[in-house]
């Protein structure tokens, strides 16, 4: 019998698709259900962040940073204000940095919770998603009591913070941590070590460490492949070097090192590390005035600065050029999601359409971060 002739089919996944985590469009070439090639098309959420930044004061850019990766607003702001402060060459009170770290780590937990929850959703488990959002809600409550906003905070300003911690914040944060640790255990029982979940994610979308490095991947995507690289430790900024915590990496314990399960699990383990940092920061929180160092007018001297930080998704960096005026000459954002997304064709060939969903989810992109 002659070989059965089959045709490849082009399947358009997105930009309106429930599992592309936003307006991502992936052009799939499939043979039956097997993915032959996957080409991501981006740009549906492009909001001209960099061009806007050229027309705004340094302080006015902070809310735009919020909107880059809308799940990690605090982390975006943190990197940006550190850059501006470096340009201005000002020293902020220690209390400011401690509060910034607390907020950034809470934001990291909130972001990872979204990532974990929606990943469960991608695999077909609906309940863990709502458990994650229930706990994320408590973190958002903490943010709300601090600065009034729940998603886009404009909380960190060059030189200080918009508000000091409100009364009762520390107690509420501790109460949250006390509630949250058992909740994470429950989540692991329900999802992470679930037989079906492991079957769906282990050995799928394997990303070897060398390819990850070649593509400039960072964050949990890189650490999932076993590379011990976290800017908070490798190139410490802010006050991260004062805390005791570990970089977690993928172990390949369920399948191959660098598979979807590893990338997923790194996020789960990172939450525990963030909790450790928050606990230490709450214990040693120094006193001080959080607005003492805020400059009346931000007019940095001519120069340029490149500042890197570890956002929930990886290496987030800003390149800021000052021409001596109140507005930056150029602000370039280096977004982790963008580099991580470029990996997609590399790790999705040969898997099924159902795996494709698992792979997109595990790479954990925010389209706001990809397009900016």
């Amino acid at each position: 019998m002659a070989e059965l002739r089959t045709e490849e089919m082009v399947l358009n996944m997105g930009p309106q698709h429930p599992s592309t985590h936003g307006v991502l469009r992936v052009e799939l070439v499939v043979d039956g259900e097997v993915v032959v090639d996957a080409i991501p098309h981006i740009g549906y959420l492009h909001r001209c962040f960099e061009k806007h930044a050229e027309a705004l004061n340094y302080q006015q850019i902070v809310p735009y940073c919020d909107r880059m990766d809308y799940l990690g607003s605090m982390n975006n702001d943190h990197a940006y204000v550190l850059g501006v402060e470096k340009l201005l060459n000002i020293q902020v009170p220690e209390r400011v940095e401690y509060i910034r770290v607390i907020m950034a780590e809470f934001q990291r937990i909130a972001s990872h919770l979204v990532s974990i929850g929606t990943y469960g959703l991608d695999i077909g488990a609906f309940t863990p998603f709502l458990f994650c959002f229930r706990d994320r809600e408590m973190i958002l409550d903490l943010f709300e009591m601090t600065c009034g906003a729940r998603l886009l905070y404009n909380y960190m300003w060059p030189g200080g913070l918009s508000h000091d911690l409100p009364a009762g914040f520390v107690e509420k944060a501790r109460a949250f941590i006390k509630h949250f640790r058992p909740a994470m255990k429950e989540l692991n029982d329900l999802l992470s070590y679930n037989e079906i979940f492991v079957k769906r994610t282990a050995n799928v979308g394997v990303l070897p460490a060398d390819i990850a490095i070649n593509y400039g991947a960072s964050g949990p995507t890189l650490r999932g492949s076993g590379v011990k690289w976290d800017l908070r430790k490798c190139e410490p900024y802010s006050v991260y070097n004062k805390f005791d915590w570990d970089i977690v990496v993928g172990t390949g314990e369920m399948g191959t090192l660098g598979d979807c399960w590893d990338r997923y699990m790194v996020k789960v383990w990172e939450i525990e590390q963030s909790l450790r940092i928050i606990e230490q920061a709450l214990d040693t929180l120094p006193e001080g005035d959080v607005q003492a160092a805020i400059p009346k007018r931000v007019r940095p001297p001519v120069g340029e600065v490149y500042v890197r930080s570890e956002s929930p998704r990886g290496e987030l960096a800003y390149y800021i050029v000052s021409d001596g005026s109140q507005k930056p000459y150029r602000v370039k954002g280096r977004a982790p999601s963008f580099s991580n997304l470029s990996l997609l064709p590399e790790i999705s060939r040969g898997y099924l359409i159902a795996d494709m969903i698992a792979i997109i989810g595990s790479v954990d992109i925010t389209l706001g971060d990809v397009d900016r």
Binding site: S19, I123, G124, A125, T127, N194, I196, R200, L352
Partner: protein, 341 residues
Amino acid sequence: MHNFITYYLGTGFWGSLVSSIIPLVFILPYALVAIWLELKISAHMQDRVGPMRTGRWHGWAQPLADVTKLIQKEDIIPAAAEKVLYVLAPALVFVGAYAAYAAIPFSPAYIGSNINLGIFYVVAVSAVVVIGILMAGWSSNNKWSLLGAMRTAAQLVSYEIPSSLAILAVVMVVGSLNLNDICAAQSGWFWNWFVFGKFPFLFITFFIYFIASLAETNRSPFDIPEAESELVAGYHTEYSGMRFAFFFLAEYANMFVVAAIAAVLFFGGWNSPFGTFLSGPVWGAFWLISKGMVLVFIQIWLRWTLPRFRVDQLMYLSWKILTPFALLNIFAVGLWVVLRG
């Protein structure tokens, strides 16, 4: 009740018409209750409260509101769709689920059609659903629908085998395909039910049947034909309004069919768990529906707990685990029946 109808109306057109409407009178309220239960159970499992306002008391009217909305929606047929098949598909899917109700013995006194081949008939008409789903997927002219339909066809055909083999084991024990006979064979206290009474053979059989039946009704963890995170909505992606509602209704109707069949085959059907206490025609209907609803509840429970299988893993489970086990089980049951005489 059936005798009552045939006595007054005969077995001609009017008698058949009234007889065939009775299951519908059950399905519609049941579907509304089941949808409401699904909303509330999922909500409470997820630390939510679910609908609370529609109809005042715990949102009991939410399914009614949903149905009203679906009726009012514009009937959209995509321009590129194969019109005839597209319109026919939802009806065929529902007919497959609905026809099965004819052979379900709701109580000793009421069975739509007391045929000798009862269980065989149920298996046969349930298979019609596959054709409807394939029609829906193909006629929609949408790649996602087509993928969903292909998955469904593969899945349903694969899982018919372990489920039929499981049913066969019970048939061998009873020696009849008639569902009323199967119920009657389990009369007495609940330890006479096959799931307990013929331990361990039919206990294992029950699990094989239940897992296979989950796959046949496209419920989680086997809901890959409509996997919303992968295939948008699978074979019914392009459907809206009442046509979509028919797919929805068929799914819920099917859930109860497999639950009722499981109740009849393994949990004594219309028998009371307590011997002759609370038994009789009316209580019979009560017991069968309650047993069926408990199994429906388990289906809902599983749906909101488990992630979804992948296509190849689903096939693996069917062909390499369930089918061999079901065959072995048949052999063991056969040997046991023969040895016992």
